[in-house]
């Protein structure tokens, strides 16, 4: 498929290559970050802290933080999520984050890059264990 510069700016090299090589109806899985450009995530949370001392337990405090975050996300990403679903893309995740896993045809994933609420997208890819060096000869024997 043909990609324009505005598409390439939003995607990682793996997704770029996958979209270029894909036939329109080929199913791809991508990870998308929703929301406007240039948010400093650390700033975003720093201004919103609740004090755990306001709550009867740490669990209650954590529940309040989780529920508030979910509420914020409904507001912040609801329209974009709807637009992605309207493109017949399958969405997963985004419970406490603006990052979602999106699956659907390459044609529709390309179309989703036109949405202003899609900030960045990457092809789903392997994540590896940070493999330690295991030294069996260092075993402490009885």
């Amino acid at each position: 498929m043909k990609l324009e510069e505005r598409h390439i700016k939003k995607i990682d090299p793996l997704l770029r290559d996958a979209l270029r090589d894909a036939k329109g109806d080929e199913v791809l899985r991508a990870v998308m970050v929703l929301g406007p450009q240039g948010i400093d995530a650390r700033k975003e949370y720093r201004g919103q802290e609740l004090a755990s001392s306001q709550f009867p337990s740490h669990e209650a405090y954590r529940k309040a933080l989780i529920e508030r975050r979910q509420s914020e996300l409904v507001h912040d990403t609801g329209e974009t999520r709807q637009a992605l679903e309207d493109l017949s893309l399958t969405l997963r995740g985004g419970k406490i984050s603006k990052t979602v896993v999106v699956e659907g045809s390459a044609r529709q994933i390309l179309a989703s890059l036109e949405l202003s609420g899609v900030r960045h997208a990457s092809l789903d890819q392997p994540i590896g264990l940070i493999e330690p060096r295991r030294r069996g000869d260092k075993r402490s024997k009885k």
Binding site: A41, E49, I127, S140
Partner: protein
């Protein structure tokens, strides 16, 4: 026909902040469940979806989910229906989420079972000496990380190891296609790595915080996972109210922005992410261990020198320049529990990361009301300067000082 997950788009959680302002004791649990169920039953979107599904049975819509009590809480129904019916449901109920289910291909685990029996000796526990725990315990320090739960996202944990008996609060695998964590009973290690890591967190002899409970998330079964597994695992850990720390030693080489947002959101919901930087040496790091939002951990050897394999460097992201790791901990020749019994000495930032997680748990035990940002500051401000470059040692060697 395909299987679909159907539920109201808005979660009750978004509207029920009042529910969490009370104690979540077992005595009040049942009334809370009833209250949530009642709210769910009164929800017009939920009512509409249930009516639509009931009326559509003649068009081939079949209910699959049987647990009505569970559905009453989550509002989620699993149905099998033709794709055109799913489209119709989306059109009729814009406030309904209609997600198509997918099969997942299992990644087969690789097992390395050691049947040898071993025991640990005092000289082997240099990692506990280096961070000040051995001396603190000799001087009467009783901290153990009690009442702290750490989510370990790894290969699983062997709970039968004597170091770990009774310490694994639960184990879960992740199904990206159904977007859910599923209990793994009993807990198992699919590769061996996770048992070594868990021992360093909470092992009786080798662990930093023996009172900690570990919630095992099998995010990289057999040592292999995907970015999507990582996102699901972090969402799961972030939404477990008992979890205070996430400990993880996996990553993708280089800087990958996609995981950063979900990691930052762990902080938003009050969870401390402690991640390994990688074992690739100078100026080569891995995401998510190289994000500014995490406590990134490098490794030192017995001579208090940063290990040559320990990843670190200076990064620039969003017009900010910062160094990783944030701090270092013992990561060479570190003894811990191995799957099937016994102990082995391993090298890696994977070994340093649970040690830092354990220290964070000890601080949390002492200051249960501490915020996640203050916890990070406590960890970093009490490190021992090893007089090496900041992009190798960060703030220095983690110490127990802040928890005493």
């Amino acid at each position: 026909m395909s299987i679909y997950i159907v539920r109201p788009r808005e979660t009750l959680a978004a509207r029920s902040i009042v529910l969490i302002s009370r104690k979540f004791t077992s005595a009040s649990r049942q009334s809370q469940i009833e209250e949530v169920s009642s709210l769910r039953m009164e929800d017009p979107v939920d009512q509409g979806i249930r009516r639509w599904l009931s009326d559509s049975q003649s068009r081939g819509v079949i209910h699959i989910s049987k647990k009505k009590s569970y559905t009453k809480i989550t509002g989620t129904t699993i149905v099998e229906m033709p794709d055109e019916e799913a489209e119709r449901l989306r059109r009729d109920f814009p406030d309904a989420l209609v997600l198509r289910d997918q099969q997942i291909e299992l990644i087969r685990p690789r097992r390395s079972i050691s049947s040898a029996k071993h025991k640990i000796k005092a000289p082997d526990l240099w990692h506990l000496r280096a961070i000040g725990i051995e001396a603190a315990r000799k001087n009467g320090y009783k901290g153990s990380g009690r009442d702290v739960t750490i989510a370990e996202l790894d290969t699983g944990v062997d709970p039968s190891h004597p170091e770990l008996e009774g310490k694994i609060a639960g184990a879960y695998t992740f199904d990206v296609n159904q977007w859910e964590a599923q209990p793994m009973t009993p807990s198992q290690d699919t590769e061996g790595h996770g048992t070594h890591v868990a021992g360093l967190i909470c092992g009786n002899k080798v662990g930093v915080a023996p009172g900690v409970k570990v919630l095992s998330g099998v995010m990289i079964p057999g040592g292999y996972g995907n970015l999507s597994d990582f996102i699901l695992a972090l969402e799961w850990a972030g939404t477990q109210p008992e979890v205070k720390i996430v400990c993880m030693s996996a990553g993708i080489r280089g800087y990958l922005p996609e995981m950063r947002e979900v990691v930052a959101d762990l902080l938003t919901v009050g969870v401390l992410p402690v991640f390994a930087t990688g074992n690739e040496g100078r100026n080569r790091t891995r995401s998510p261990g190289n994000y500014n939002e995490v406590v990134s951990v490098g490794a030192i050897n017995r001579k208090n020198r940063v290990a040559s394999f320990s990843s670190g460097g200076t990064l620039i992201a969003d017009n900010h320049q910062y160094v990783v790791p944030d701090l270092v901990a013992p990561g060479v020749d570190v003894y811990s529990s191995v799957m099937g019994g016994g102990y082995e000495a391993w090298d890696g930032t994977s070994m340093a990361t649970p040690i830092v997680s354990g220290i964070a748990a000890l601080i949390l035990e002492k200051y249960p009301d501490i915020s996640v940002t203050d916890l990070i500051d406590e960890l970093l401000s009490t490190c021992k300067d090893l007089r090496q470059h900041e992009d190798r040692q960060g703030k220095g060697l983690v110490q127990i000082k802040a928890a005493r």
